[in-house]
């Protein structure tokens, strides 16, 4: 097991799901639930004669940041691209349910409990969505996670962390959009349709999936920050993600509504104004929208060190 202090300086992008989970919470506080020793692996992969992982590619557990119990879900992209099946989906849903149940229990025991003593859920996404080897079960699991988020509203804040290799796409792309807060690094990518699928749909002239710069400026952390889809853009270190979650841990659950991009009639109205802008602009490139947001030199901004980017970037308002 990696040394906790050493984990802090480690690249979030390069880190395994378990290291991200352990490093996110205070030293020595992480308890894994349904960990590898429980051997909760996918029976469907067994049926196909495929290799399994004893955690089914998702690390779930509970730790603490300060006084706050933090329930953690961390997806492992190195196992079938972090795709979600029956077991992994059940682990995600159950973690959120345990957090909601614990919040209810703590509030019932002490109605005056301090806000920073109540649970928070943090999800480190690294996934392309449904695991095709068990696609039907994976699809149904996505719906359960979405429903669990809505049940958590007003009870337990849900924070998305996106900064891993695979990004966060497919069904998990809209699951992540439905969380309260999204924290990304510039290497994080968030979307619905992956680059290869868009290329297939629209042709290589319209969208070249092998063009990494194009892919990053369409779905990457910097773009999502300008669009307001990611709330906080942090450095690519475990400590940086941990630092942002630690700040969020100080807030009562009611304060998390301000970070949301969807989830109410008013927010839908706001997104409709953004879509009207999309219809009017018909952007050929994400940089067109950066310029519209008030960034006169999008290419320069895109290449600037991330610290300068954070200071200079104008975010789109609609």
């Amino acid at each position: 097991m990696a040394n906790w202090s050493k984990l802090q300086t480690r690249s979030f992008l390069e880190s395994s799901a378990r290291d991200r989970a352990i490093g996110l919470v205070d030293e020595g506080t992480f308890t894994e639930l349904a960990g590898p020793f429980d051997r909760m692996s996918s029976p469907h992969l067994v049926a196909l004669g495929e290799a399994v992982e004893f955690d089914d590619g998702v690390v779930t557990g509970v730790g603490r940041i300060g006084k706050r119990p933090v329930f953690v879900i961390s997806q492992e992209g190195r196992f079938i691209g972090g795709a979600v099946g029956e077991v992994g989906g059940a682990k995600m849903v159950t973690t959120i349910d345990l957090a909601i149940g614990f919040a209810d229990e703590l509030r019932a025991a002490n109605p005056k409990i301090a806000p920073d003593e109540l649970p928070l859920v943090a999800i480190s996404f690294e996934t392309g969505g449904v695991r095709l080897h068990e696609s039907n079960a994976g699809l149904l699991a996505h719906a359960e996670v979405m429903d669990a988020f809505q049940r958590a509203r007003g009870k337990v804040p849900v924070v998305a962390l996106i900064g891993s290799r695979i990004g966060c796409f497919g069904g998990m792309g809209f699951v992540a959009a439905a969380t309260d807060v999204i924290v990304m690094s510039e290497f994080g990518r968030l979307g619905l349709t992956g680059p290869e699928v868009i290329e297939e749909e629209m042709g290589k002239d319209e969208f070249d999936a092998s063009n990494r710069a194009l892919v990053y400026r369409t779905t990457g952390g910097r773009h999502k920050y300008i669009m307001g889809d990611c709330n906080f853009l942090v450095d690519d270190r475990i400590a940086a993600f941990r630092g942002q979650v630690t700040e969020l841990c100080k807030l009562p659950v009611g304060d998390f509504e301000q970070f949301r991009r969807i989830g109410s009639a008013a927010l839908v109205e706001k997104q409709m104004r953004a879509v009207a802008l999309a219809a009017e602009m018909q952007p050929k490139d994400a940089y067109d929208v950066w310029r519209r947001a008030g960034n006169n030199d999008p290419a320069g901004l895109g290449d600037a060190p991330v610290d300068d980017f954070r200071k200079q970037a104008q975010r789109l308002s609609v």
């Binding site: 495929e50 069904g171 839908v268």
Partner: protein
């Protein structure tokens, strides 16, 4: 009639009371811009005399502004329009007791979400997410939500428009009903497994294959409707059953379908995982309670 694929509006008229559908009006909200999300059909009808909100896809419509959106695809405008219809439904019955909240009927025939570059730049994921959250909120508020799959219920579009309902009914496979993430032939290609092997495995395990009967076994569809002529009566019966189930606090929606999936033997590992995690957390929960006494 062999199929209702591409005929969401025909299905809509068959299900609700004849001539009762008033398009583009939900509670106090009027959808006045005809060019806005034209593939998303929203409105109010009566169903066996009860006022209901209806949300469907029009496969004939083409979105001039977003050319990847046609044939029943749910694009950004369509997703937000559908979400607005749900919020308008919530607003219309804000002061009604849970038992009197109007039902929402989803008529499902959609092949996907908008897959374009503009969609990714502006965030298609938010539009489909917004609609799902709205449905989950309405379901929790007491509105009975029934989804009727009459044609295509494909992957993310089914998650968007269908899988947040309290109950899902689907026309029998003989009418061409398609429910899947991907056809088995594509799955076979991507996961590099022989199609014959997958077809053989599908006989005993419903997680691989496409079709309403497999989703039924997994609890992902509550009821398979044997004939097109039965659609209306089945939806009416499900709404009535939901009034009772919701009053009793029974699990419906995604949680209810998880219970059903275990009971039907299609998803039996899920409850084992949940039980294990609950037991393990109970054993350590004291460590995570407030320590100051």
């Amino acid at each position: 009639m062999d199929t209702l694929i591409g005929q969401g509006l025909v299905a809509l008229e068959m299900i609700v009371d004849p001539g009762s559908f008033a398009r583009d009006r939900v509670g106090a909200k009027e959808f006045t811009d005809e060019s806005y999300g034209p593939g998303a059909v929203v409105g109010t009808a009566t169903l066996d005399g009860q006022t209901v909100t209806v949300i469907a896809s029009d496969a004939e419509a083409f979105n001039e502004k977003f050319p990847v959106v046609y044939a029943g695809i749910i694009g950004m405008e369509e997703g937000y329009k559908m979400a607005s219809a749900v919020y308008a439904t919530l607003a219309a019955d804000r002061d009604a007791p849970a038992s009197a909240k109007r039902p929402i009927v989803l008529i499902v025939d959609t092949p996907g979400n908008g897959p374009g570059k503009v969609e990714e730049i502006f965030g298609m994921n938010k539009a489909t997410g917004a609609y799902q959250l709205a449905l989950a909120e309405a379901r929790a508020a007491g509105h009975p939500i029934v989804a009727a799959v009459i044609g295509r219920a494909i992957s993310g579009a089914f998650l968007c428009h269908g899988l947040q309902a309290d109950r899902i009914v689907a026309l029998d496979a003989k009418f061409g009903t398609m429910i899947h993430v991907m056809p088995l032939t594509s799955v076979s290609r991507i996961i590099k497994k022989n199609i014959e092997v997958l077809e053989e495995l599908s006989k005993s395990n419903p997680v691989f294959a496409a079709g309403p009967q497999f989703f039924h076994k997994l609890g992902g569809v509550e009821e398979v409707v044997p004939e097109i002529a039965d659609l209306r009566s089945v939806v009416i019966r499900q709404v009535a059953a939901l009034r009772v189930a919701k009053a009793k606090g029974e699990a419906t929606g995604p949680v209810g379908r998880a219970v059903l999936g275990a009971a039907r033997g299609g998803r039996v590992t899920r409850p084992q995982v949940a039980a294990k995690m609950a037991a393990e957390f109970a054993a350590v929960a004291d460590k995570y309670r407030p320590q100051s006494a």
